[in-house]
Amino acid sequence: MVYSREELLRDISKFLEYCKQCGFCTPVCPVLKVSDYVETYGPRGRLLQGRGVVEGGLRPRPELSSRIYCTLCGFCEVKCIAALKLTDLYLAVRHYLSDSGLIPEQVKQVSKAILGLNNPYNVEPSIKAMWLDYLPERPAERGKVLYWAGCTSAIRNPETASNAYQLIKELSGPEVAVIAEEPCCGWPLYLNGDVESYKEQLTKALNAIKKSGAEIVITTCPACTRSLREKAKELGIEHGLKIYHVVEYLHELLKAGRLPKFELEAVITYHDPCDLGRHLGRVKEPREVLNSIKGLKIVEMRGSGLESNCCGGGGLYQVMHMDRAYRIASLRLKDMPSNVRTLVTACPSCEMTLRTEVANEGLDVEVLDVVDLLMRARRPQS
């Protein structure tokens, strides 16, 4: 079913009515900052392009699509004077552009890869499963608790995936399963506006999970968490599974007094992933988990919590504007407190993007996931 201009108008009319064009959302936009402050690349400009499309002032065309793509970091929403949930509007416009055949070519390739190879990176499933080689043993295929690596942890951060599996196994018993041929949850399809294909891919992923016998699903990817839990619910897909981001799971254990003692003498800083912080509202949880490590000191970055600056890695923006995405990452690295050399985060996309930029710039900074740090901070078992 094609998403028509009338439907787009229905879905975004509230935004168009309530936006005062005040521009309060613009200064925080990472994409605007690396686009010479040209309005169409900022939040007010994106909203107004949506207005132009539905009111007929603008003809949808590839150049417009290219400007609509941003990192979907959600910082503009925090600043919006009219409390608008702007990322919903951007996604609705992406949906319309997708159905009008105006998906940018680079993004089309991502969809093709997911639908063909079950991951957005266009690699063979066997390569996606290679992270399992990092494990001391072959994990079970069935179990009550499932570690869902997600494509980015599995393909781009295999060590993190391996650490996550081992940590979860230590904390929740031997019954931790992994799906060797884990399908993509489909989130990038949703991000590029192909809502129908997304629903199919999501259903495929949920079926694979159910087949594993899992009741609890823990993932290192906050985007997978949004997809499998929040979006599935929004779309009315009942699955009865308990889906956790690993930080949420660890936090629950901490609150129940079931998190073991960790110890590590280190000074770190924490980068809030947009998907986990602003979109899932988990800001205090990662900090409480990290603070449970004896000897660890967290020094905050400039811009943290709900006001954290984006790393450039989200929203498929990187696929479209690689150079600018890494300039955003570079800006984020400049937010690090001086004298801190360890940057901890809780999202495989942030980890990958920031680590790549650290390498590009030859910086003396180590980028880790929370689970990597916890594995380092385990006390030798007596």
Binding site: Y18, C22, D36, Y37, T40, L48, Q49, L58, I81, A83
Partner: protein, 459 residues
């Protein structure tokens, strides 16, 4: 000169990456904050340097192409709305900030955000004195061109009072510096102050030098709730008469508080509210706050809270911070007015606002920087059509009334397109209509071809 020719000549002069004329850009730049009118420009130039601006103004002057300087487009009276067939110069790529600690001066390029400049100053124990509510988005150039003010206006004044010098590009491309990084200058006519508040109608400001003031080390807050506005005004007057020198004195009427409670889920007493910040050394701060609280109680406040705890201070301020967002979220269309009156006229303004509000059947709340008599009526509308039939006449009545009270039709938002008639009304009331002619003559000196932001401020 046709669009294509203008664009291609600009691209030759500046390089094609600095000139944009895609339909998406032209459409998006046609809007500015709370815009009632919009107009697409011919092209947009991204200015990275004073030289870029000079090249554009030389070209535009020769060919008589209108130019509209633009910061963030947060001006609420259409000052930065493009005019027909114009070149918009977006100054935001020019954002260098240099703090000169020994001399207590900060230098900033036109595109830097006011808040960004403040944050730079604070790294060295200073702050930028002017703090418009729009500081995170408003640029230095926009703030200078509008003579912006803020909460600390009662103490430090507006941009006019903190600016030491500016660099300006004139139509024709000449670059001049007026004033400079010195605290005193007695060298003839003060042309700098003609450019501050000129709303982009004389030239393009490319940088400025400003006074920094020490960032307060210890601040406390007193919040008082009044059943009636007369008492609130008397409270503020008593505070000043007794020689307290607050950092800020903010006012909010019960209509705004009620609405904020409802829309933002807050729980503040639904009364007229006065917020006072005092900065003093720690040893005397608490006792001074108590004295302030006593004065406000004696003036008739039914409830007074005071604190030095930063979290509690922030909590008490939430409702004031949420005033604009409340109206923006509660109404599909909302607008803000601006006027400045002698403080003793505050109760009269509130009374007038209530009358006008019921006359037109629309919601109007009142907030303001009571310390300097600057008030903003906030108008909420259900449909845009009500702007012409209700909101605009209501604001004209309220702002016009400020003239009768010895005040002015704008404390800080300026004239732009939307208040030109009110400016004339104000000058007439003062029997000073000739001022308009002086303004026109001044404009002709700097901008003989009339290319700078035509149709704004004066016709």
């Amino acid at each position: 000169m046709g669009r294509e020719l203008v664009v291609s000549r600009l691209k030759e002069l500046l390089g094609s990456e600095k000139v944009i004329d895609d339909p998406e850009e032209l459409y998006v730049y046609s809007y500015t904050a709370y815009a009632v009118v919009r107009e697409e420009p011919l092209a947009i130039v991204k200015a990275f340097s004073t030289e870029d601006v000079a090249k554009v103004l030389k070209f535009a002057n020769e060919h008589r192409v209108p130019v509209v300087p633009r910061g963030s487009g947060t001006s609420v009276i259409g000052a930065s709305t493009p005019v027909k067939d114009s070149i918009v110069i977006d100054l935001r790529p020019m954002r260098r900030i240099v703090v000169d600690v020994p001399n207590g001066v900060v230098e900033a390029e036109a595109g830097a955000y006011v808040d960004e400049v403040d944050r730079e100053c604070r790294k060295y124990g200073f702050m930028f004195p002017v703090d418009p509510a729009s500081a995170e988005a408003a640029t230095i150039g926009g703030a200078l061109a509008m003579d912006a003010g803020g909460m600390r206006g009662a103490r430090y004044g507006t941009m006019r009072h903190v600016t030491l010098g500016i660099e300006v590009v004139l139509p024709g491309g000449n670059v001049i510096t007026l004033g400079g990084p010195v605290y005193k200058q007695a060298t003839g006519y003060d042309l700098m102050h003609i450019f501050i508040g000129s709303e982009g109608t004389l030239g393009v400001i490319t940088r400025g030098w400003f006074k920094m003031v020490p960032a307060p080390k210890s601040v406390g807050r007193v919040v008082a709730y009044f059943d009636n506005v007369e008492d609130a005004a008397r409270g503020v007057y008593e505070i000043r008469r007794r020689g307290f020198a607050p950092l800020i004195i903010e006012f909010m009427d019960d209509i705004v508080v009620k609405l904020a409670n409802k829309i933002k889920g807050l729980n503040f007493p639904e009364k007229n509210m006065v917020i006072i910040d005092i900065d003093l050394p720690k040893e005397v701060l608490s006792s001074t706050l108590n004295e302030v609280a006593e004065v406000l109680k004696a003036a008739g406040a039914s409830e007074v809270r005071s604190t030095t705890d930063p979290d509690e201070m922030a909590r008490l301020y939430v409702v004031r911070k949420q005033a604009y967002p409340t109206f923006a979220a509660a109404f599909p269309f909302s607008f803000m007015g601006d006027l400045s009156v002698p403080l003793s006229a505050l109760p009269a303004v509130v009374k007038k606002v209530r009358e006008v509000s019921s006359k037109y059947g629309i919601t109007i709340g009142l907030i303001g920087h009571a310390g300097d008599g600057n008030l903003h009526p906030l108008v909420g509308l259900q449909s845009k059509d009500e702007w012409w039939s209700k909101a605009r006449p209501a604001l004209v009545e309220i702002e016009g009334y400020s003239i009768e009270l010895g005040g002015t039709i704008s404390g800080e938002h300026g004239v732009g397109i939307e208040r030109k008639d009110l400016l004339i009304k104000e000058l007439r009331a003062r029997r000073s209509e000739v001022v308009l002619e002086y303004m026109r003559q001044i404009k002709r000196i700097f901008d003989p071809n009339g290319i700078m932001n035509p149709g704004k401020l004066i016709d």
